[in-house]
Each structure stands twice: as C-alpha cells, then as structure tokens.
Symmetry: C2
C-alpha cells in the first residue's frame, strides 16, 4: 500500500465503519453500521424472459383453466358471492368456473400502487410501481443459530428475530412470524405475537388468515397500534395477509375468510399460489406459471367482488421439485425464470408483484448464499414490489436462521445499492482529477478522491476485504462465523421504538380481554 | 412424501444423477453428472444502467481524456505506428494524444463476432453477439484447497486445474495459467505450460504478453497444436491475449509488443483496463468507467492500426477499493453496475465484451458465493461474451481454489440454464395435465409429468436438497466440504483428450529446441 493509501486508511476494527454512521445510520443508536432507512426504487427496465405473444398464451391458458377446469372454493359465503356475480358454481360441490368476462371485469380495479401504513409514519411503504420492500422471513417451524443449533420455534427466538427486524433498516416490514412460537398456545398466539410486533417494532406487519377471529383481532390491534379510528383504517391499508391457494386450484375456508375480512376493510390481500412444478403444478415452467396465474386471477376476481378497489398483490412462488426425490428446490434457474415471468404477468395486469428470497440449504453456507442470490436477482430484475422471506429463510422455509438474517441483510443492502443510479455529471466524470493525476500515478491523494472517499462506495455489513494474512491472523473467520457475532451485536444494541403509553395500555387491555375470552378457536 | 412421489423417486446417492447422464453428459466418461458441452446464448435484452445520453457523456469524456490528457505508450515502435497515423506523440516522451477522428476511424473495423478456434473443432467458440464463453480463473500466485491449505503456485496444482478445466464442460476455455507454477523457471514456464494446455486439454487457451518471444512461442505452439499452416492460423483466430493497461492511462512495453505480435497475426486482443475506482481511477463509478473507456479505445485504435480488422474484445474491470484500508473489493454493487455500463459501451462500439467472475473472499464461504453472484449477474445481464476468472478465482485474484472451481461450475451451469428460454407451447402449458389432475390433487403420477420428469429441471452438481434430518445423518456437510469431495472425484475421473501422435512429437521437439535455446528472456 502506498503512503497515500495509508493516509486515507482509517482505524475501523472489524466492520466498525463508524465514520459513515453520521451519514448512513442516523436513526441507529450505535455500533453496527448499515444503510439508513430507505425504500429502494428500481430504475432499470425489468428483464423479460418470454415474448409478448408468449405472455398472452400464458394468460389465455389461465383463462381456459378457470373456464374449463375451474377452481374449488371451500367456503359457502364465497361461493354465494361468486354465484351472485355470475360465476358457474357447481350445485353439488365446491367447483367454481369463471368465464373470461368475469376475469376481465376484475382487471383494472385494484390499485397499481398504494401506501401501506405503519404505526410509525416514517416506516410507511409504497407497494407497487417501481418501489421495492423487503420482508423478514416468516412462518418457519424451527429456528437455528451456530451456537445453539436447531430447535423448535419458541417465543424467545421469535422476539429476537423481531429485534433484528426492527434494528436492520433494510428489513422494511414483517411478513408473518419469523419463527412460529410453538410454546405459546395456538388460541392466543396471535394476540401475543401481534402485541409484540406493535410494542417491539414500529414497522408494518402481517396477519395470518387462520380464521375470521384472528383476522379481526389483527385488524383491531393494528387500529389500536396506529391510534386511529375504524374509518381511517378502512381508508388506509395498514395490514396485509398472504393468501396461499392450495395448489392445484383450491382456496380453503380460512383463506377465503381472510380475503373477506381483509378486503372488506380495504386491507391488503397478497394472493400467492405455491405452484411447485412437478408436484402441485405441471412439470414444465410454462404450465406451472399458467396454473399460478389462473389461481392468482381467481383470487383477484374474488377479492374485487368482496370490495372493488381493495388493494391486491399478485404473488408468484413457482419453483420445482427435485424429480429424483420429490424434495422441493428453491433458487434454481427454473425458479429465477418463473419469478421473471410472474413479474411480466403482474405488470400486464397492472398489479403490484410479490416474490421471495428462497433457498433450500440446511446450513448458512455457499449454497444458501447462491440460491438466495438466484432468487433475489429474479425478484429484483422482475420488479417485485414485495420480497417475502427476504431475511433469515432457510431449508425451503422449515427453519429461520439468525446468521442468515445478517447474510441476507448484506445481500439486500447490496441490491439496494445496485438499484441506485450511477450519477453521470461533470463532477462525477472527474476529467479534472484524471488530468491532475495523469498517466502512471494514482488517485489516493487527489482532491476529487479526498472530497468523496468517505461516502463513495457501499460499506458492507458482513464482507471481509482484508488480505489473507491479516484475515488469518485475526482468526480466519468465515462469513457465517462473522454473521454469528454480528447478530448478537445487533441484539445487544436493540432499542425498542417509542410507543404512546395510552396505546400501550389500550393494546394490553384488548389482549387481556381476548385472552379472557379464550382467544381464537382452531382455524 | 406421497406414494406417487416415492414412485418417481430414484436411488441416486450423493449427487449421483446418473439417470441423466445419457442425456446430458454423453462426452463424459462417468461419475460427476454435469451439463453437456454447450456455449450459452443470451436471449434476453441486456440491462442498461445509464441512459443513452449518459452513455454518450461517458463516450465524450473518454474522447476528451484521450485528446487532452493522452496516454503513455512505453514502446518506440508503437509510438512510431501512432505517429504515422496522425496521433500527437510528444517528441521528448511517451505521451500520445488522440484526436476524436483517430478514434472514430478505428470504430467499426474490428469484427462484431468471430470464431475462436480450438485444437478440437468441437471446442470452437463464437466470441461476440449473444454468445457467452466462460474461462477458467487465471494468474493466481497461490493455490488452495481444504485439505492442504494455501501454498505458492506449483506445476502439480497447475496441472490439476487443467484437468478440472478440461473435465468441466461449463469451462469453455483457459484464460491464462489457473495458478502460476512458480517452481518452473520463468524463462521456460510458458513452454511447459502451453505444452500442457495442448496435451492435457483440447480447449482454447490464452497467451500472456510478457515479451515478443513468448507471444511468438505461443503462436507457433498453437499452430502446431491445431496441425495447421501459418496461413491458416493467420486466417483463423485461435489464441487470445489479455492486455492490461497500467491504469491510469499507460500501456507498458510487453503489452504493446503483445498487441503487435498478436494482432499482426489476426489473433485476439482483449484490452482490459484495471480501473480500481479510488486507486487507479477516479473515486466515482462514472469517472472510473470514463477512464476505462479511454484506455480501451486507445488500445482499440492501436490494435486496428497494427492490423485493421483484427479481432478485438472490449474488456471491463472497474471495481472499487475499500476506502478505509485501500484494499481492492470485487463483486460489490459498484462492480456490478460498472460491468453493466461496460457492456453498454462495448455494444455502442459493436465490439465483443469481456467481464469477470470476481470476489475478494479469503475462504470458499457465503461471501465468496454472493460476491461471485454479484459479478456473474453483472456479466450475464451486461451480455459479456467472454467471462474471465469464471471458475476458481479467490482473494481478488491472489489465490486459485479447487473447491471454488466446483462452486463456480455450479453457478455457471445455473446461469447457462437461466439463459435457456422458457418453452411456451400447447404441450408445455399442460392444460390437459391440469384438467386430468384437477383441484386438490398432485402431478407426481400424471402422464405429462412421467414423460418429462427426468429432463424437466436443472440437476445441480453441488447443491444438496435433502431435508435437514437426512442431511445431518449423512454428515451435515457444507457446500464447501462437498465441493472438496467433488473436485477430487473430477480429478480421479479425468481423461486426457486424444492428440495426434505427430502433433505431440512436433510439439515436444519445439519445446525441446526452445529450452535448449534458453527459453525466453525476462520481459
């Protein structure tokens, strides 16, 4: 290293890029440096992997599926709503067939984009258009970290994931329970968990559709958390629910109840078929996507019948199984391409798009990283507006990992930086600097460099760029080991966001009353 | 898993997807299943990160740099050639200034694409347009694997990397010595190494520009290896050289000699400025790319003056330093965006484009994987035609890793699969299958599935998709551990490609004669 390089060098310790904190992390108390709160905007043209004609073929195939095969709706009220709108409802069963007019009538009613309101308005998000939001991973039955291994989900781990999700600015909202706290009885789990979301974080969270009562509790708790009236809640999307069709071609009772409860109150329905090609969908990407699209369109029709104009997000989750074992795979080339077609379809319908950061690895290793990258690039290039499972997801969703949260935070921050346009101007082209330095010299000491070096480049949270010898002397830690130290540092630094005492009291009273009433029945 | 899933399940063992070998790996003797030899073609529109106007600003800035600052050419003959063409050559030094006319005259002369001939015609490559070729990593001073650790480069490791590069179909050519065999004296190293390339592999290789003699030896050995005349070699690009400018704005003697020797014989010059923003280039991406572009254009002008129409590849290698330590970083968000702008510039000039698969990790871990993915996506989305360092590169080029070769082979295969268009047809849309299966069932036993399942999806080389319990019982191996077993398996399975005995003899005689003459002098 030259003397001038030494001149610019700063004492940083491992990852402690405190020099940048003033700029980047003004809303963080101390310690782990990270990007400031910001919602990425994607300025690039989306990548298209099928032609316009091929896209129309997929659309037409979906309409044909809905018209000829139909879809099972396992809910009486839902069937009545659909029948009332002219759908062909089988008199002796659950099968509902849609003619194309019914589908076309639903298109264009849901908003292209909307604001999703958090209890802290600074955490509000735009869902749609060129905006992107990253969700914490959700719904894993197990959790794991390096020190303590893998264990069934529990409330302590649940709360630790909430702390990480609150502390990391690149996690914009919570897409469900990061891990299922199995030690809390199912009848009251949602009350404790939503209460934790509201008191321990100030970001948007998600309501599971596991029976009407739970949806209604979530809606009321969201209203209380925001300190608003019912009327304001009905005007302002503030809560979202993931509706998974039971592929192939079925919507179950709690899911349909969820759509009814949420859409009626103008809250967000994210319809996501889980179309695993070769298992719950055809073994071809085109066929799996056609089926995904049919299921998503059926959900759109129903949602718009419940409440025309209610916010709706088109979800894509098409992947493939390992045909040798039947095991699901994620972050595969098929997955990435399906994510891109999903984006094309969502844009065709003028709907916000949801994708995911998925992988099938059993350990936070190179596979976890590359499968996640394949998923994330599919999401970002496909202009996903909502990226679920963005931080912490492992094992195809069976485990939430503390180290993976940190690894993913790095991947997400890098994506956010990738999406920042290159500034091309007289100043950034730097012709004066190039003339000043001239051939055969270096830019370390140039004025152009000195004015910008502190903020010129992305500062990583996890990557270690020291040379081999220095890295080895310092303990030769892998990225996973460093992530292990970092998540503990983040937990230690966690500070609960402010909450109005009146709101806290009202929330506690609601939870106490509902617990006294026995919570919610099994879905 | 359902009964039907079991029905489709096949006994595979670890990664042994032998059922697919007949289809995919017909040119492999046995064992590790992989994609068959194929050159990926990129059917998608390239991603553009600057507007057309911004691209012109960068182009104009480059012209201004060449006109006002100029570039140092440290070679008398080169300066004479440039002076003869009307460049402004400083009478008392090495500085050469180019007016825009000189640059514009050079544009359009080099071919948009050309065939790069291997000694085995089945390994010929198209360089340019929508075609992509992946090079083995090159020029590392150290090598490493899990069992034996990191050590200075040696001939045994060199040969092992050649075996891997020959065996893995996704590695299309060799971009230099994968590791420097430091135990072979520099005067004869090129003779032994090129001899190994020709006898141990049948793919295209690269000639270092380290003095005229070495270029000429490489050219003659290439001619012998192909068994062709001088005239045929002069017609058919069969060898390539990387020319690195010494950024900022300098071309050194051996590099200029390399251009002269290679271009005169119609062989391929890949001009790659190593413009590390903040060190050898301005601290801004726009400035670093403008300088990269100036240097590449100067190289293009010179190459076309030496031999109008000689094949030329536009190389981009703009990354950034860690401004806290001066350490170079790779696979950063800045790197990915610079790779995409590089592609835009190369396309503007109608030139094939070279990018790289770079990372700065010291160990084959999650960081190595995600930085490589960031680099690779930049290359692929930017329509790179030649991806250097595609397999095995670590530590910003200071180490070649055996495990990383396997990891990268997986990443490259996944990219190749990602680039295969989704087939959208009546058959693949699978409406009959969807009708046959219907709501609430599964596709495992459907005829549509059974006809396709063996070849429907990408079969990974490294990824482990078993569930956690099975994976743990089998030893809980990370991807890096599995890569360690796999590279040894590949080495054990290596078979040298056939070589005509007459060619082998002629080659040996040439090498013996040149060694007797003392090899080549220091560059």
């Amino acid at each position: 290293m030259t003397d001038t390089a030494v001149e610019v060098k700063r004492e940083t310790g491992r990852g402690g890029r405190r020099g940048r904190r003033g700029r980047q992390g003004a809303d963080k108390p101390a310690g782990v440096e990270q990007l400031s709160w910001q919602q990425p905007r994607n300025p690039y043209r989306p990548v298209e992997v099928v032609s316009a004609d091929e896209l129309e073929s997929i659309h037409e195939a979906s309409l044909q599926i809905l018209q000829e095969v139909g879809m099972d709706f396992l809910h009486e009220e839902a069937k009545q709503i659909l029948k009332g709108a002219g759908a062909d409802v089988a008199p002796d069963g659950d099968r509902v067939r849609f003619d194309r007019g019914l589908v076309e009538a639903a298109l264009g009613n849901a908003p292209r984009s909307f604001t999703l309101h958090a209890r802290n308005p600074a955490r509000n998000l735009v869902i749609g258009e060129e905006w992107c939001a990253f969700c914490s991973a959700s719904s894993a039955p197990n959790s794991a970290d390096r020190d303590r291994g893998r264990r069934p989900g529990n409330i302590e781990d649940y709360r630790d994931f909430l702390k990480l999700g609150q502390s990391l600015n690149i996690i914009h909202l919570f897409g469900g329970y990061p891990v299922e706290p199995l030690d809390i009885h199912a009848s009251i789990r949602h009350l404790d968990c939503y209460s934790d979301f509201i008191t321990m974080t100030d970001k948007v969270f998600h309501a599971y559709s596991l029976g009407r009562e739970r949806n209604r509790d979530a809606l009321e708790m969201t209203r209380i958390g925001r300190g608003i009236t019912d009327e304001q809640l009905d005007r302002e999307p503030s809560l979202f629910t993931i509706i998974n069709s039971s592929s192939p071609l079925r919507l179950d009772t709690p899911m349909l109840q969820g759509i009814i409860e949420m859409a009626r109150r103008n809250q967000v329905v994210v319809l996501t078929p889980f179309t695993l090609a070769g298992a719950m969908a055809p073994v071809t990407v085109a066929g799996a996507v056609a089926q995904q699209n049919a299921e998503a369109l059926a959900g759109l029709v129903f949602t718009q019948l419940v409440n025309e104009g209610a916010p709706f997000v088109y979800g894509g989750f098409t992947s493939n199984v390992d045909m040798k074992s039947g095991a699901p795979a994620f972050g595969t080339p098929e997955y990435s391409r399906a994510a891109l077609v999903g984006g094309q379809l969502a844009r065709r319908y003028g709907l916000p798009y949801r994708s995911s950061n998925a992988n099938a690895s059993n350990v936070v290793d190179a596979q976890a990283a590359y499968e996640s990258e394949m998923s994330l690039w599919g999401a970002v290039l496909g202009h996903a507006n909502l990226v679920k499972h963005a931080a912490g997801w492992m094992e195809g969703g069976l485990c939430a990992s503390f180290e993976k949260v940190v690894l993913d935070a790095e991947l997400l921050q890098m994506m956010a930086e990738f999406l920042k346009p290159i500034e091309v101007s007289e100043e950034t082209l730097g012709l004066d600097a190039i003339a000043e330095v001239g051939p055969g010299s270096h830019f370390f000491g140039a004025a152009h460099t000195m004015e910008r070096y502190e903020t010129a480049f992305y500062a990583p949270i996890l990557s270690d760029w020291r040379n081999y010898e220095t890295w080895q002397e310092a303990g030769a830690e892998t990225a996973t080991l460093r992530a292990s130290r970092l998540y503990k540092k983040l937990l230690a630094e966690y500070e609960p966001p402010p909450l109005d005492p009146g709101i806290r009291e009202e929330l506690a009273a609601f939870v106490a009353r509902r617990k006294k009433e026995g919570g919610a029945a099994a879905a």
